[in-house]
C-alpha cells in the first residue's frame, strides 16, 4: 500500500521561487492561506558570504531554520536533514506516516518535468506526498511552471536527489557550491491554523516590520538588516561593480530573488486586505511595497546581464539601486502611517 499525504493543492505567483511555492503547498495542506502567511513579514536582510547558488536561498534570521525565518509571526519550525542510510525511501515514508510533507532538495537536470531536464543543473525544491514501492513511484509536487503534480519513477527522483548540483556555466546563479549535497530534505512543522487575520493583528505585525527596518534590534554587524543594511548592501554592490568584479553581481541576482518575492507578496496581501476591509490607504501602502518588488527587477537583471562587464554597468546599477532604496523608504513611510490606524 502506498503511503500518501495527498491530495495536494498548488499555489504560485510569478515573483516567487520554489521556496515560497513549496511552502505554500504545505500551508494549504495545513488549512492556511499562503498569501497571508508568506506575505505578513517584510524585512531586509543580507548576510555577506552566506548567499548560496540555490533557487531557494533565503537569508535566515534564525540560523538553519528557513521556515521560522520566513514565517516569524507564527509557530513554525524547520530543519535540514540528510539521509545517510541505504533506503532513502524509508525516510520519506516515515515522514509521511508522521503526518509531515518532506521537502527535498534536488537537481533540476534529472527531473523530466522541469525545463532544465538534461540541459542545466540547478538547485530546486520539491514536495513529496507519496511513496508507492509497488508501483515504483514517488508522488511529488512542483508548483513552479510548468507545474507538476503526480508520480515519477523512483529512479528519477533518486538521481535528482543524489546529485550534488555541480557547477554549470549555463546557470551560474543556482548551480554549484550549494548545499544540495546528496539526499537533503527539509523537515517542516507547522502549528494549527491561527485566527483569521484582522486589522488589529495586521497593525501589530506592520509596526514590528517597520521597526525591523528603521530600528533593528540586531546590530552585531554580521547581517545587513533594515534600511541601513539595504543602503550598505547596495553601496557595496555598486562599488564592487565599479571595481570590475562579477561575484557580487552574480550573488545579487540570487539573493535578490527572495527579497523581491517577499516584497511582492507583502504588497499583494496589504492591497487585498485594504480592498477587502475598505481601507484604501492600506491598499495604497501595499502598492508601494509592490513597487519595491518591481524595482528589484532592475537591480537583479542589470546585475545578471552586467556580470560580463561589471565596471561598464556600474553607473546604471547605481541608478537602479537608488530607485530601490527610495522605494523602500516611501513604502515604509506609508505603511508606518497606515499601521497607526489599524
Amino acid at each position: 500500500m502506498p503511503i500518501t499525504r495527498g491530495p495536494l493543492e498548488q499555489w504560485y505567483r510569478d515573483p516567487v521561487s520554489c521556496l515560497q511555492s513549496t511552502l505554500a503547498t504545505l500551508l494549504l495542506k495545513a488549512g492556511e492561506d499562503p498569501l497571508v502567511e508568506l506575505g505578513l513579514d517584510w524585512e531586509f536582510r543580507h548576510i555577506p558570504g552566506d548567499v548560496r547558488p540555490e533557487e531557494y536561498y533565503w537569508p535566515c534570521r534564525h540560523p538553519g531554520d528557513v521556515v521560522r525565518s520566513l514565517l516569524p509571526h507564527r509557530a513554525a519550525v524547520s530543519r535540514w536533514r540528510t539521509v545517510a542510510g541505504e533506503d532513502p525511501l524509508a525516510v520519506l515514508e516515515d515522514a509521511l506516516a508522521a503526518g509531515l510533507l518532506p521537502v527535498i532538495a534536488v537537481d533540476n537536470f534529472h527531473l523530466p518535468f522541469r525545463p532544465a531536464y538534461h540541459d542545466v543543473h540547478a538547485a530546486h525544491l520539491l514536495v513529496v506526498y507519496e511513496v508507492d514501492r509497488e508501483a515504483g513511484t514517488v508522488g511529488v509536487s512542483d508548483a513552479q511552471p510548468p507545474a507538476f503534480l503526480g508520480p515519477i519513477p523512483v529512479a528519477d527522483l533518486l538521481r535528482s536527489w543524489d546529485d550534488a548540483s555541480p557547477h554549470d556555466d549555463q546557470d551560474v546563479f543556482f548551480s554549484g557550491k550549494g548545499e544540495t549535497a546528496a539526499r537533503r530534505w527539509l523537515e517542516v512543522r507547522l502549528d494549527e491554523p491561527g485566527p483569521e487575520l484582522d486589522p488589529g493583528q495586521l497593525g501589530t505585525v506592520l509596526r514590528a516590520n517597520v521597526r525591523g527596518f528603521t530600528n533593528p534590534a540586531e546590530r552585531d554587524g554580521t547581517h545587513q538588516v533594515g534600511l541601513e543594511g539595504l543602503r550598505g548592501f547596495t553601496d557595496d554592490l555598486v562599488e564592487r561593480s565599479r571595481d570590475g568584479g562579477s561575484e557580487a553581481l552574480v550573488s545579487a541576482y540570487t539573493f535578490g530573488w527572495g527579497m523581491q518575492a517577499q516584497a511582492a507578496l507583502h504588497g499583494e496581501l496589504l492591497r487585498r486586505c485594504g480592498a477587502g476591509w475598505g481601507m484604501r490607504e492600506l491598499a495604497e501602502a501595499g502598492r508601494h511595497a509592490e513597487l519595491v518588488a518591481h524595482l528589484w527587477s532592475g537591480v537583479r537583471v542589470q546585475s545578471a546581464h552586467g556580470r560580463a562587464d561589471p565596471a561598464g554597468c556600474a553607473r546604471e546599477l547605481a541608478r537602479h539601486a537608488a530607485l530601490l532604496v527610495a522605494a523602500y523608504e516611501r513604502a515604509l513611510e506609508t505603511i508606518d502611517r497606515v499601521a497607526e490606524g489599524l
Partner: protein, 199 residues
C-alpha cells in the same frame, strides 16, 4: 477579455493604416533577439537564460491590430534583432499631438520604470512604463495580453506548457503639445517589439 488580433489582410477594404495612429520606426534601435524559430533557438536573448518566443506562433514583419491598436510587428528572420532592449534609446516620432503611446512589450520579470516625452516647446515629461513578466506570467499591470504562446524556446530545446507573453501596454501623453521624441527607460529588463502613437 477577448483579445482581437488581425492582420490588415484579414480585413479587405480597410485603410492600410488608421489616420489617428502613427507607428514608431524602431528599426534602427532594435538590438535584441526575442523571437526564434524552433530549429534555431540558441540566438534567443529575452532573458539571462537565453529564452525566446516561438516565431511559429507570432506574426513576422507585418502590420497587425491588437484590440483596435495597429502595430508594425517586427520581422523575425533568424539572427536579426526583433526588439529594443531598453538602454535609454532616444527615438524621434512623427511630430504631432498625441494622447497615448501604445507598446507591444515584455519584461524580464515585472518591471516599472519611466519614459521621457520631449515636446516641440522644449518641455519634457516623465511618464510611468509598467510591463509584466514575459515568462509564463499574467498581466499584473492591467495590460492587454497581446500574445500568449503555447511553448517557450530554450537554447537547446522547445519547452511545452511554459507560455511566453507579449503585452500591449500604454503610456499617457498628458501634455497638450506637439511631441517630437520619446526616450525609452535605461532598463535592460524591458523589451519593446513595436510602438504606435494615438492622436
Amino acid at each position: 477579455m477577448t483579445i482581437q488580433r488581425r492582420t490588415f489582410e484579414d480585413t479587405p477594404g480597410a485603410a492600410p493604416w488608421p489616420d489617428d495612429y502613427s507607428a514608431l520606426d524602431l528599426g534602427p534601435y532594435r538590438n535584441n533577439i526575442g523571437i526564434t524559430p524552433a530549429w534555431s533557438t540558441k540566438a534567443g536573448r529575452l532573458n539571462v537564460w537565453g529564452n525566446s518566443l516561438p516565431a511559429e506562433e507570432l506574426p513576422g514583419g507585418e502590420a497587425i491590430v491588437v484590440n483596435d491598436v495597429p502595430f508594425q510587428f517586427p520581422g523575425t528572420l533568424p539572427g536579426e534583432p526583433d526588439n529594443v532592449r531598453c538602454t535609454g534609446q532616444f527615438v524621434p516620432v512623427p511630430p504631432g499631438r498625441y494622447d497615448w503611446l501604445y507598446l507591444l512589450a515584455a519584461a524580464e520579470r515585472r518591471t516599472e520604470d519611466v519614459m521621457a516625452f520631449h515636446f516641440e516647446d522644449g518641455a519634457v515629461d516623465f511618464e510611468p512604463l509598467r510591463v509584466s513578466d514575459f515568462w509564463h506570467a499574467p498581466a499584473v499591470f492591467g495590460e492587454d495580453e497581446a500574445f500568449a504562446t503555447s511553448v517557450m524556446h530554450y537554447p537547446h530545446h522547445v519547452q511545452e506548457r511554459v507560455s511566453g507573453k507579449i503585452f500591449c501596454q500604454r503610456v499617457p501623453v498628458t501634455r497638450r503639445a506637439v511631441l517630437l521624441a520619446v526616450r525609452f527607460p535605461d532598463n535592460v529588463a524591458v523589451h519593446v517589439f513595436a510602438a504606435s502613437l494615438r492622436r
